[in-house]
């Protein structure tokens, strides 16, 4: 088990003091991602999948429940996980610091660990299908697809064992989206990382995930193998989702 969420609940409080409102973003969610596997997490907006990703990444502490990474509870300090888990996030336009050269962006996870390895940056850029020369460019000179490739390179440069893809291809054009999905698959074969792949697009998840979890209203309503899920969904909500596909 690379990551386990055990009965995780996340409650947000909002509103003025004395009369706080409690919003349950996650309610007793149990999920796991096994070694080398990709778990697809689907659900509509507001279903709690983004909160789940933040919990998985250690950006959000659960109100209740436990999270284990590589069999151990999350360390107190987020920094101790540095280099072991990374993420590729949604918006290609905002995923890279516009004031940083591409090479510096890719090198950042290494720099944080105190490592300097320009070779690894160049190698990583080539692995994701970009010329090494792109390292000196700024993000605005790149296309959306290229930027998302850079994000993937940045996420993989420390060779993490676990990656979160949060709507990583949703904003891409259809023709480019396919390129990136293939790239992710290739890299996973090569690097052997486990992944949590979050998307509202069932088509994409079907292609990339080994197992699927469906969230709705902060709860996981169904978990199944991809093949099983797409052929014989168990939950009523899953069926409706698939109809819309």
């Amino acid at each position: 088990m690379i990551l386990e969420l055990d009965n995780v609940t996340v409650t947000f409080t909002a509103g003025p003091p004395f009369r706080r409102e409690h919003v349950h973003a996650m309610r007793g969610v149990s999920l796991y991602v096994a070694e080398g596997e990709t778990l697809g997490l689907v659900g509509e907006s507001g279903s709690g999948k983004t909160t789940a990703s933040r919990v998985a990444l250690g950006l959000q502490r659960p109100t209740a429940g436990a999270v284990r990474f590589e069999g151990k509870p999350f360390p107190k300090r987020r920094r101790e996980l540095a280099g072991h888990m990374q993420a590729v996030l949604q918006h290609p336009h905002w995923s890279l610091n516009p004031r940083m050269r591409v090479g510096a962006s890719v090198a950042e996870p290494l720099a944080v660990l105190g490592e300097k390895a320009p070779d690894r940056v160049h190698e990583m850029l080539e692995r994701v299908g970009l010329e090494a020369g792109l390292a000196t460019r700024y993000p605005h000179e790149l296309s959306g697809g290229q930027r998302q490739r850079v994000s993937i390179a940045r996420a993989l440069v420390t060779r993490p064992r676990f990656l979160v893809f949060d709507e990583a291809v949703s904003a891409l054009d259809v023709s480019v989206q396919a390129q990136i999905l293939n790239l992710i698959k290739d890299l996973q074969r090569e690097f052997g990382f486990s992944a949590l792949f979050i998307s509202h697009d069932l088509g994409v998840v079907r292609y990339i995930a080994d197992r699927i979890a469906v969230m709705r209203g902060g709860e996981v309503v169904e978990t199944a193998d991809t093949a099983t899920f797409y052929t014989a969904p168990a939950h009523e909500y899953s069926k409706r989702l698939l109809e819309a596909l």
């Binding site: 509103g15 003025p16 003091p17 004395f18 009369r19 409102e21």
Partner: protein
């Protein structure tokens, strides 16, 4: 209930700000060089006189004790006594309030009535943008005391029909208000222009254009209301600025207002007056901001205090 809580929260934060202001002003006043003794009693004063004065106003106690006493008195509505006039500060400020109040009010009115249309015009007629930018820049670049002195000089020497100094009635405030609003007009115009331009690219304006609405229909029904939010917000800032700027105009036009009074009090180290004056200005600023929040809430239901959480 929600509304009451919102107001409670705002009141607490306003009180915190006022407390901060009071500490800052109290500290600043006591850090000023030139003690009250040399200043108020003059160089010829004897040590006995100084001691007597310090005793009368409690100035021989530690600063913290003084602050505590002052704060307690303020809480009772007692802002102390002016060392110069020996009158309660409250009544002194109250007597001068109408001048500064009217002056500021008129200036804000002028700034709004002239600046807002000007801003809308320059935003919509983009080809004239350069003219708008120059005009608004001019407003910012002519200092009040230059404009004020010029106006005072011209109107007094050539008897142009309006009183250019002193305060007899509301007519005396026409020229000062115009001078004071000069800067505010350009800031208002510029903010309005920015706001309108920001609204003009909103999807709902595009949608209205797509429906075949005329530009003026769109401006009247969609743009003005939405662009009003930053403009109303600005008006609070501007009013606060004008309260400050009023003092220069008060000087030049010799108007018995609060601004010049407080500055004079600074010059004389008349502590109670300075403290009360600044606290008054801060209160006005904070109250204005509260009002702005309220008005903005009325204009834009998303920001409103009344409809929070009524999401369907």
């Amino acid at each position: 209930m929600r509304l009451a809580l919102w107001w409670l929260g705002r009141a607490v934060s306003a009180a915190a700000t006022l407390l901060g202001v009071s500490i800052l002003i109290f500290a600043a006043v006591r850090m000023m060089p030139g003690g009250f003794a040399e200043t108020i009693l003059g160089p010829f004063a004897t040590a006995d006189q100084k001691a007597e004065l310090a005793d009368r106003y409690g100035l021989d106690q530690s600063v913290f004790v003084q602050y505590g006493h002052w704060l307690a008195a303020v809480a009772r509505g007692d802002f102390g006594v002016s060392m110069i006039s020996r009158e309660p500060v409250v009544s002194e400020l109250w007597a001068r309030l109408p001048v500064t109040g009217q002056l500021t009010l008129f200036s804000v009115l002028i700034a709004t009535l002239v600046g807002v249309p000007l801003g809308v015009l320059t935003a919509v007629r983009a080809r004239r943008a350069a003219v708008g930018r120059l005009l608004s820049g001019l407003g910012v670049s002519v200092p009040e005391f230059v404009l004020g002195s010029l106006v005072v000089f011209l109107f007094s020497r050539y008897a142009l029909g309006l009183p250019a100094g002193g305060y007899d009635n509301v007519r005396s405030l026409v020229l000062p208000s115009l001078v004071l609003s000069f800067f505010a007009i350009s800031i208002t115009a510029r903010t309005t222009r920015d706001a309108v331009m920001g609204v003009l690219v909103e999807p709902y304006v595009t949608a209205a254009v797509a429906r075949g609405e005329s530009p003026w229909f769109i401006i009247r029904h969609h743009v003005l209301r939405n662009a009003a939010i930053p403009v109303v917000t600005l008006l609070a800032t501007i009013t606060a600025y004008l309260l400050g700027g009023a003092l220069i105009v008060e000087y030049v036009f010799n108007l018995p207002g609060i601004g010049s009074y407080v500055v004079q009090a600074v010059g004389r180290r008349d502590y109670a007056v300075v403290q009360a004056g600044v606290l008054l200005a801060a209160t006005v600023f904070i109250v204005l901001n509260l009002l702005v929040d309220l008005v903005v809430g009325l204009i834009d239901p998303r920001l409103g205090v009344t409809s929070k959480g009524r999401r369907a």
